[in-house]
């Protein structure tokens, strides 16, 4: 019998709270919540923790930033290149907080690095979710929540990038202004609405400030809460493996294992961001100077996550794509790269779970993740998208590639123009082949086991290599997956020759489904495994008592 413990101070306080709120039940429930273990499940955590760092450092920055475009003169001594210059109050306060406020520059740099890492970790996290099929039912809504958060993260990044009102950010806003103006009919009105008159006006910084510190983070916090709530509610997905099914969760309890791991990870994220902020300079706005619409310096690029739009703009041929229709100009050379390209990207992003469910004819719940190889077309599409993204991002850096690798900037542009179309197709084909190849390799392994490297010679002179069978865990991983076949549809006419509605739409979907699942390698069935086993044993017996009978018996051999 355990001795009755004297209540501690903490215990008393907890009891007081519990008697009034029954919070003990929630703590008990949550502390025992089981999470599966894998490093890639921590990618989203990195995003969450960099968001926490963003909020904390951003809070500090708002204490010193002045969101105003009123003209002031900089009287500070540092940096010397800014002394006495006319600038907006926003730029003034940015320089001032960097050079006069203790820790201000560190906080600014931490904030900016955290922003880059925030978006980067979101993207990597999304790729993990995409390639492992974690967006399937019941998690489609959570995928959408995540995708909206990605858009908000980009918006947060862009509004923040534009706040200091330096030449670099002003150039970025000018591009946005041009893109907005290229929208047919409403373009110029929208631009005037956004900027409160002709670009740049005097309103854009305060407006972006409100969005950046209030609207966007508010929405992000709400969506993060929803994202995490849904994750807890639906339980975390798990990688395939022995004993893991769609009906269970194999892992460790939140308390103490994940509480410890998460706390550790938080300090690592905060530490790495602080280290970066302390040692690597980022966005030295005084290098660019206060905004003035006339200068555009070489090497003007957006932060990495907008690079693909900038790159698409640089790849788009100019002449011949500006159509004048009835006295109105339609700038296809802006519309295509700046609105249609991101439009395609985000449509794919938002629509994918639904597209895949439709062409798979899949209405089941999934809690066990896919190995990327087992969904060749999905994996190949992801890689193709990544290649297109990287090609566009590289195009935005064409001037730096040219100077750093002594290349001709026009040649780079042409190579990337071709690559933008050829690269994703090639990447798709290659990835799909690699996936199918890996699946065949898995089949082979399951049916015949590992090569042991042990060669046995029988009395009749025949040589065989002994294969070791896979253990249960290894086999489970390789045979326990769905390999969907293309959709089967009901024929056009029924038994009595009556045509049915919706046949043509079904046919179209079937075609898409064939694209997804025509090439498939099905997992080894128990019957096939049995056949392979007996075949091997049959061989062994036929080999007329091999010399090393004891060691070979029970081992399977290659067919």
């Amino acid at each position: 019998m355990a001795e009755q413990q004297r209540p501690t101070g903490l215990g008393k306080a907890a009891d007081y709270l519990d008697q009034r709120t029954s919070i003990g039940l929630a703590v008990k429930e949550f502390a025992r919540k089981v999470f599966p273990d894998h490093w890639s499940f921590m990618l989203g955590e990195i995003a969450l923790f960099s968001f926490v760092v963003l909020i904390a450092s951003g809070f500090f920055l708002t204490m010193f930033f002045e969101p105003s475009m009123a003209l002031v003169r900089y009287e500070g001594e540092h940096p010397a290149s800014m002394h006495g210059q006319l600038m907006s109050a926003a730029f003034h306060s940015t320089v001032d907080m960097s050079f006069e406020v203790r820790g201000g520059l560190l906080m600014r740099q931490i904030h900016h690095w955290a922003a880059l890492i925030f978006v980067a970790s979101i993207v990597v996290h999304m790729f993990r979710v995409f390639f492992t099929g974690a967006f399937r039912k019941p998690r489609e809504i959570n995928w959408l929540v995540g995708a909206v958060m990605l858009v908000l993260a980009l918006a947060a990044g862009f509004t923040g990038y534009s706040l200091p009102d330096d030449v670099l950010s002003g150039n970025g806003l000018r591009i946005i202004d041009g893109v907005v103006k290229s929208i047919p009919v409403i373009g110029s009105f929208t631009s005037f609405l956004v900027f409160g008159g002709e670009f740049p006006g005097e309103h854009i910084v305060p407006r972006l400030f409100t969005l950046h510190i209030f609207v966007i983070p508010g929405l992000l916090i709400a969506l993060i809460a929803l994202h995490l709530f849904l994750m807890v509610l639906q339980k975390h997905t798990q990688y395939p493996g022995g004993g893991r099914t769609d009906k269970n969760v194999v892992g460790y309890p939140a308390m103490p294992v994940y509480v410890a791991k998460m706390t550790g990870n938080f300090f690592i994220v905060a530490g790495v961001l602080a280290l970066m902020g302390a040692t690597m300079s980022i966005n030295n706005v005084w290098n660019y100077g206060p905004y003035d619409p006339s200068p555009v310096s070489a090497g003007t690029q957006p932060d990495w996550y907008i690079l693909f739009v900038d790159g698409a703009l640089r790849l788009m041929p100019g002449p011949g794509w500006e159509w004048v229709i009835g006295g109105y100009t339609l700038s296809m050379n802006l519309l295509i790269p700046a609105l249609i390209v991101p439009g395609i990207l985000f449509t794919l992003l938002f629509g994918w779970p639904f597209l895949e469910a439709k062409v798979t004819g899949d209405h089941r719940e999934h809690h066990v993740l896919d190995r990327p190889r087992n969904r060749p077309v999905r994996t190949a599409m992801g890689v193709a998208l990544l290649v297109a993204f990287v090609v566009c991002a590289l195009a935005a850096t064409n001037d730096l590639i040219a100077t750093h690798f002594s290349l001709d900037i026009f040649a780079i542009t042409w190579v990337l123009r071709v690559l933008l179309f050829v690269g994703p197709v090639f990447a798709f084909w290659l990835t799909k082949r690699v996936c199918l190849g890996l699946q065949r390799k898995d089949r082979e392994l399951v049916l015949h086991g590992h090569e042991s490297g042990r060669i046995v010679r029988f009395a009749n002179g025949e040589y065989v290599e002994v294969h070791t069978p896979l253990d249960e865990e290894e086999r489970w991983l390789r045979v326990n997956y769905d390999s969907p076949a293309p959709l089967e549809i009901t024929p056009l006419t029924d038994a009595r020759g009556v045509r049915r509605k919706g046949y043509r739409s079904d046919r179209r979907w079937q075609k898409v489904s064939r694209f997804f699942y025509e090439d498939r390698v099905s997992p080894v069935t128990p019957a096939e495994l049995e056949a392979a086993h007996s075949h091997g044993q049959h061989d062994t017996i036929e080999a007329k008592e091999p010399t090393g009978a004891g060691s070979v018996a029970g081992q399977r051999r290659r067919r």
Partner: protein
């Protein structure tokens, strides 16, 4: 000595030896390498020497009397500043044909360069080599230089002079290592793709302000490593390589820790 002898088979011994060897060679090089001498004013007597040098090294392309040939500019009236810039940065004599003449270790020493400059200057009036006072960065106003640089230079040379790309393989070089005199001369004479910024366009004082701004940039960034001062692209690259690299590494490590 005994302790040293005992450790000579230590596995770190070769590394230590290698480091010592590198240190020694580096030290000797630093001590003995030719240092750049001060530019001198050239006397008229040197013009003859300059002419001889010109005819031996430059006349093939620029013509025996510097009158220029097909596709090669005449040097009459380019002035001493232009010759000094081109020759002291090693761009001339040109080594190979390419999108543009590249800077390389200069082929001529200070006196020879001065003689060549004197000879070309004697052919026709042109911008003279700036005086030391004209290019003294400490006398300039970096703030005004910043404003001028931003408006006139940054579109090719990058906001702080880190360099940038031009068309067809040509480029505006980085200005980190360019001497104050050469920066000034480049503005005066507009070498290669660069436009001329004459004294009416940017006054000598303003040119010095620009030099002063560029020299200030060499002190590095207040925020730590400047990452090449290339802007968001290099920042994004390092965010992935260092930031996300460390964080994913840490995630793998935490994930591998037994629970």
């Amino acid at each position: 000595m005994k302790a040293l002898a005992a450790r000579r088979h230590h596995r770190m011994a070769p590394v230590v030896l290698l480091l010592l060897a590198l240190l020694t060679t580096g030290g000797i090089y630093a001590a003995l390498a030719p240092s750049t001498a001060k530019a001198e004013t050239v006397s008229t007597a040197d013009i003859e020497t300059g002419k001889k040098l010109f005819q031996a090294n430059c006349a093939t392309c620029h013509g025996p009397n510097a009158e220029g040939t097909d596709g090669v500019p005449s040097l009459v009236g380019v002035g001493a500043a232009s010759v000094d810039f081109q020759v002291s940065t090693g761009r001339m004599p040109m080594q190979t044909n390419g999108p543009q003449a590249l800077a390389k270790p200069p082929q001529f020493n200070e006196e020879q360069t001065a003689a060549l400059a004197g000879y070309v200057a004697s052919l026709g009036a042109g911008p003279a080599i700036p005086t030391d006072e004209q290019v003294d960065a400490s006398l300039g106003d970096p703030s005004n230089g910043m404003a001028l640089f931003r408006t006139n230079c940054a579109m090719c040379h990058n906001a702080v002079g880190a360099g940038g790309a031009l068309s067809e393989g040509k480029f505006a070089p980085a200005l980190w290592e360019t001497s104050e005199r050469n920066i000034y001369q480049a503005m005066q004479t507009g070498p290669q793709s660069m436009p001329v910024f004459n004294d009416a366009n940017i006054t000598p004082d303003e040119k010095r302000d620009i030099v002063s701004f560029l020299v200030e940039q060499r002190e590095g960034s207040a925020g730590g490593n400047a990452l090449g001062a290339l802007g968001p692209v290099s920042e994004g690259l390092w965010a992935f390589v260092i930031g996300l690299g460390l964080l994913i590494g840490a995630a793998v490590w935490i994930g591998a820790k037994s629970s």
